[in-house]
Symmetry: C2
DNA sequence: TAGATTGTTAATCGATTAACAATC
DNA sequence: TAGATTGTTAATCGATTAACAATC
């Protein structure tokens, strides 16, 4: 149904079990994102505990689903009482890698690139844009916050000097594969792609495609049928 | 596993069978989008026929999947020969509702709203923004192409005068439900939501959530494990 | 203790795939 | 005709859910 992600064998000293030998589906990962967001809200509203039923309701899933998802990673609750909000939030952030910072390079400084760069949620989650690369000479040289837009030709040398964990591709489809090949060659292991085309990456590189048209087309289908 | 969409009973005079009594999963709809895009490319490159195996390869799925997806809607191929590219493209566009125009209202004229408004792919697919509504008085009055940004208070009267098929919500999370209630009350039957929160809509309204953070968080999980 | 809720197993549901008769 | 490829059925795979013993 979907490609699964196999977690490498690595133990963890701070109470979060690693799901080695097990496989976590992307469905589960996406729900963990959602649980995390809700738990942050609950924490803001000073809730101290939450049951799987309550969390499920707030996320629009079943309570069995919540418990099942969490069970891949450890025992976070107390029978009869539920989960400590802050504790569970911290645990999920750690599982998701949201307890640390990630360096990101943005390719494409068009309106989509602009929106991504200034999207506040990313920074709050620990994702920091270190580079912006663009072909349009009219945009090169401009500064977005403390990052100067540089020509794509400088990507290699700059990424060697200041490496990143993640590359975000917000360029026209034609240049996407080229950029991916470049950053993969430079050791980048994770790519978020907005270009609506199939990209080839090695097995050990994570690729997530975001296609803005799909949601609208799905609504168009819904309205038509 | 997911909510299914039940197609209403309605026959079609132009050769595309309607899948009444059947249910089409959102997985299938998303793949139809993908087939459509590839077929458009093939048509541009003057390919006249394509097999399910070739189409599958270009989309990154199996040939059985392609044939299965298409089989929900009719018989589009010729045994031994494959599919006519233009014919199949036209058929899928019709199934998806991409053979006509859709009117869209945009809520939120921030950088995300800006990116969506100027996203070329939408217009090419037949989605036209008729309205842009925004609370920030500094933005109200500006013109994006031929559309003037108007205050959110005018949404009701303007949408009554010039109705839309789809509302796109690109506002902060806090105002999203309010906007949804408003447009649902005005008869809008399809909503694309970028606010990272659960929205309540009646059963007969289509809602698609796009969460930009999820793809990055999923990569953060990938890199961490 | 009685009530509540977890963690987990087994059952169910539904999506994908293999296989092949039909047929160009 | 022989080769190719569809449309469809049945088998498989995997995600979700119901149910309940464990236990706070």
């Amino acid at each position: 149904m979907q490609r699964k992600f196999r977690s490498p064998r690595s133990d963890d000293s701070r109470g979060v079990a690693s799901p080695f030998l097990d496989r976590i589906s992307d469905f589960t990962v996406r729900r963990l994102s959602s649980y995390c967001r809700i738990l942050r809200n609950l924490e803001t509203n000073s809730a101290s505990t939450v049951s799987s039923a309550k969390l499920a309701e707030l996320c629009g899933v079943t309570s069995a689903q919540v418990r099942k998802d969490l069970s891949y990673f450890g025992n976070f609750g107390t029978r009869g009482l539920g989960y400590q909000v802050s504790e569970l939030k911290t645990a999920i952030e750690k599982i998701m890698g949201l307890h640390r910072q990630w360096s990101v390079a943005l390719f494409g400084a068009g309106s989509l690139g602009h929106a991504l760069f200034f999207h506040e949620g990313f920074r709050e989650d620990g994702f920091y844009f270190r580079h912006v690369f663009e072909v349009d000479p009219l945009k090169v040289g401009k500064k977005w916050q403390d990052v100067e837009i540089r020509p794509i030709e400088e990507a290699e040398s700059r990424l060697k000097r200041i490496p990143v964990d993640i590359a975000v591709v917000a360029t026209p489809s034609e240049s996407a594969q080229e950029i991916v090949d470049l950053v993969v060659g430079l050791g980048v292991k994770a790519i978020m792609n907005f270009a609506p085309r199939k990209l080839n990456v090695p097995d050990n590189v994570g690729l997530r495609n975001v296609n803005l048209a799909v949601a609208l087309e799905s609504l168009s289908f819904f309205l038509s049928n």
